[in-house]
């Protein structure tokens, strides 16, 4: 069952169509990647989910029911453009955001203590925000996003500004949140983290959905015509009518070569063709990275 659904959402800014009949369906307890080049309409869609702006047409459903203004209290949002009041004390500011999400002061205090302890931030409570480093501020923002235990959490580029250690901490917290039953919409340009974290994705370009589905299914589908050979020794393959060479690399006594088949030639025929060139160690269908899929899909539209 899907926790969140957007059906045929369209949004205009004057003459500009920011979203054109976009639909997404986010299954419960999954991490859902929202991808797309700059200016594709991701932020607009996220703002619509958060009810910061309303769609011109289309419908939004949370838990099978129409999205209501009160639902902001079960949604958590970490925007890409985020900031804190610089002059406020860290603890007070965290309390403020928690209260805006509908928590009582006492309850917010109790939960903040838990999180500040867990993420090693207890000493920061009485510091002013401007005294913290950027990464530290991001951590505070992360906590304020999830403190009210939202059922739906939207992270827009959550890892920017973090060092690898802290990025890993945050990644583990995100996985932990899902385990505890939260559903996560995750928007990023970092395709490696999409492969690592996301179960499903939607790719938006210029206001339109151009790709959607489970990450493994998408990669398998795009793998259809690509294969990877590993040879012992320095081996070069030459293109012929059956395949194109995508990349060749010689490293540590092994050659890794990727090809894509250009016709419906059976793999056996290609194999027997290539076998003459050298000693094959392995032959696999190559799963294209999300990065490659992203670039190819978007460029094919230009």
């Amino acid at each position: 069952m899907s926790l969140f659904e957007a059906r045929n959402v369209t949004k205009m800014f004057g003459e500009f169509k920011a979203l054109d009949d976009v639909s997404i369906s986010v299954p419960e307890k999954c991490i859902y990647g929202l991808l797309g080049p700059n200016g594709a309409g991701k932020t607009t869609l996220i703002r619509i989910i958060n009810q910061i702006t309303g769609p011109d047409s289309g419908e939004l459903y949370l838990n099978g029911k129409k999205l209501l203004p009160e639902d902001v209290e079960i949604i958590g949002y970490l925007p890409e453009e985020r900031g804190l009041y610089k002059k406020m004390k860290v603890g007070e500011e965290a309390l403020y955001f928690a209260q805006l999400k509908g928590l009582s002061k006492a309850e917010a205090m109790r939960r903040l203590k838990y999180w500040f302890k867990k993420l090693d931030m207890v000493d920061w409570w009485n510091k002013k925000v401007e005294e913290l480093s950027k990464g530290m501020q991001q951590k505070v923002q992360f906590i304020t996003t999830i403190l009210h235990e939202p059922k739906l959490i939207i992270f827009d580029e959550p890892f920017t500004g973090f060092d690898p250690v802290n990025a890993n901490t945050i990644k583990n917290e995100i996985l932990f949140l899902r385990e505890r039953g939260a559903t996560i919409i995750f928007s990023t340009h970092n395709m490696a983290s999409v492969e690592e974290l996301c179960d499903n994705i939607t790719l938006i370009d210029r206001g339109k959905t151009i790709l959607e589905g489970r990450v493994d299914e998408i990669r398998n589908k795009w793998a259809g015509s690509e294969y990877e050979f590993v040879f012992r020794g320095d081996v070069k393959l030459h293109e012929n009518g059956h395949f194109k060479v995508l990349s060749q690399a010689f490293e540590n006594g092994r050659s890794t070569i990727r090809i894509s088949t250009t016709s419906d030639t059976p793999t056996n025929e290609i194999l027997s063709n290539v076998m003459k060139s050298g000693n094959i160690i392995s032959f696999n269908p190559a799963l294209p990275s999300m990065n490659e899929i992203f670039i190819r899909v978007v460029e094919s539209r230009n």
Binding site: G54, E73, P79, E81, M88, Y96, F97
Partner: protein
């Protein structure tokens, strides 16, 4: 606690805790009280601005000692002095200027000085000389007992103003008091609306540039955030105003019992009101000299009665009403501007059209004090952008009820319309970065659907 009250609380507390707020709140009434005490002190001591003026005459001594000294100027009649010599040395001799009278051209004496003399000094000289010349001309008619006749016919006229109400009853009033109240009311309104309105704008810009706004509007509606800020700042303004009033009264009280033990308090109060009347109303009769005031307590108590005859309830109610509505009107415009720009320097182009009506209101309000019945004052006290300031300047002089009601109704309609429009511009503006803002752009945002 509802979300808007959470916002109001934050806006209020962060501002009230600021060092600049605490310093301003404490310092301003001290300065104010200082002025209130110092001005009459300076007037009592009198010789602060003391000037000596030499009077010489060409070839005769008809006007010897006819110009009386005033509290600021001494007139020294010199004989047997060469005018050209004196003009070279008068400043070194301690004179402010030289008055040169030629009996053949007595209508145009010449005052030589290093600086342009004040109009009051010229009035004093011409008054004294005119009187003397008239006296001399009268003497030529050889009237008997001329001196006693002249003494007897000398008259001072002090018009007493009475306001007649509908039932025909009359209340004695004071134009001086009305002017002071008009001035204070108009100016305070201008200051408060402008000061706290622009605080709202700075707050909005801070939220936008620090990018904190997007997180907040995912929890509350933009209009709630805007109104929370506007109300929070208004409460800061009212708090500061209240502390000012209390502290000013307290400081005056303390200074009165310590610094000014010897001086009669009523004397000081009278000096203040007197001086204001002198400044504002050239034709206030019989300029009372500081030294003569003390025994005239009766006059002071009359003055005080006149002050109490003002409709204080109406003034205070109107002030609060026009402050709240005027502030809401301007603060919402300021909030919309703050939402449209990326930083404070970009606000310049928008500030002018907003500042003009406020300044215009102040200018008209100052003119109102001279002529409260003018049609200019009438129209500007109805137009919502200037009415808070101009109406406050008119009320002490009496305003027909229908005009007050029309002005208030227009004010309410306008502020509601502007808060509504500002909320729409604000909603789009706070999430818009890197766009060169313009009025046209803001008009477009106004018409976006939510």
């Amino acid at each position: 606690m509802s979300k808007i009250s959470v916002i109001i609380k934050r806006e209020y507390l962060t501002r009230v805790r600021k060092k600049s707020f605490i310093i301003m709140t404490i310092l301003a009434p001290l300065l104010m009280a200082g002025f209130i005490i110092l001005i009459p002190l300076m007037m009592v001591s009198g010789d602060k601005d003391y000037k000596k003026i030499a009077v010489i005459e060409e070839g005769s001594n008809l006007f010897e000692n006819v110009i009386p000294d005033t509290k600021d100027e001494d007139f020294v009649y010199l004989t047997n002095v060469n005018k050209n010599e004196l003009l070279k040395t008068f400043e070194a001799d301690g004179y402010y200027g030289v008055l040169y009278i030629i009996p053949e051209a007595v209508n145009s004496p010449v005052l030589y000085s290093k600086k342009q003399p004040a109009i009051g000094l010229l009035d004093h000289i011409s008054g004294a000389l005119e009187k003397e010349i008239e006296k001399k001309k009268l003497q030529d008619y050889n009237i008997e007992n001329l001196d006693s006749i002249l003494k007897e016919i000398r008259t001072n006229v002090n018009p007493v103003t009475n306001i007649v109400d509908e039932s025909g009853g009359t209340t004695e009033t004071s134009t001086g008091i009305a002017m002071v109240l008009a001035y204070i009311g108009g100016f305070l309104m201008y200051m408060l609306v402008f000061m706290f309105g622009s605080q709202v704008m700075r707050g909005v810009i801070e939220e936008k540039t620090s990018r904190v706004v997007e997180v907040i509007v995912s929890s509350v509606r933009p209009a709630q955030l805007m109104m929370g800020k506007i109300i929070g700042v208004a409460l800061v303004g009212l708090t500061q105003f209240m502390i000012w009033v209390v502290l000013t009264i307290a400081t005056v009280g303390i200074l009165r019992t310590t610094v000014l033990k010897k001086t009669d308090v009523t004397e000081i109060s009278q000096n203040i009101t007197q001086s204001v009347m002198e400044q504002n109303q050239a034709q206030v009769p019989a300029v009372t000299q500081a030294a003569e005031i003390s025994p005239e307590l009766a006059e002071f108590s009359k003055f005080f009665d006149n002050a109490m005859n003002q409709n204080w309830l109406l003034i205070i109610f109107s002030f609060i009403f026009f402050f709240i509505t005027g502030y809401l009107l301007y603060a919402s415009i300021f909030a919309a501007i703050g939402s449209a720009v990326d930083n404070e320097t970009d606000t310049q182009q928008f500030m002018l059209p907003v500042t003009i009506p406020i300044i215009l209101g102040l200018v008209v309000a100052m003119g109102t004090m001279q002529n409260p019945e003018s049609s200019l004052a009438f129209w500007f006290s109805l137009i919502p952008f200037t009415s808070p300031i101009v109406m406050m300047a008119r009320i002490p002089f009496g305003v027909p009820a229908w005009q007050l009601i029309v002005s208030m109704v227009l004010m309410v309609i306008t502020f509601i319309a502007f808060v509504w429009a500002a909320a729409k511009v604000y909603r789009t503006g706070i999430l818009m970065y890197g766009k060169k803002p313009s009025w046209k752009e803001m008009w477009k945002w106004l018409r976006y659907s939510s």
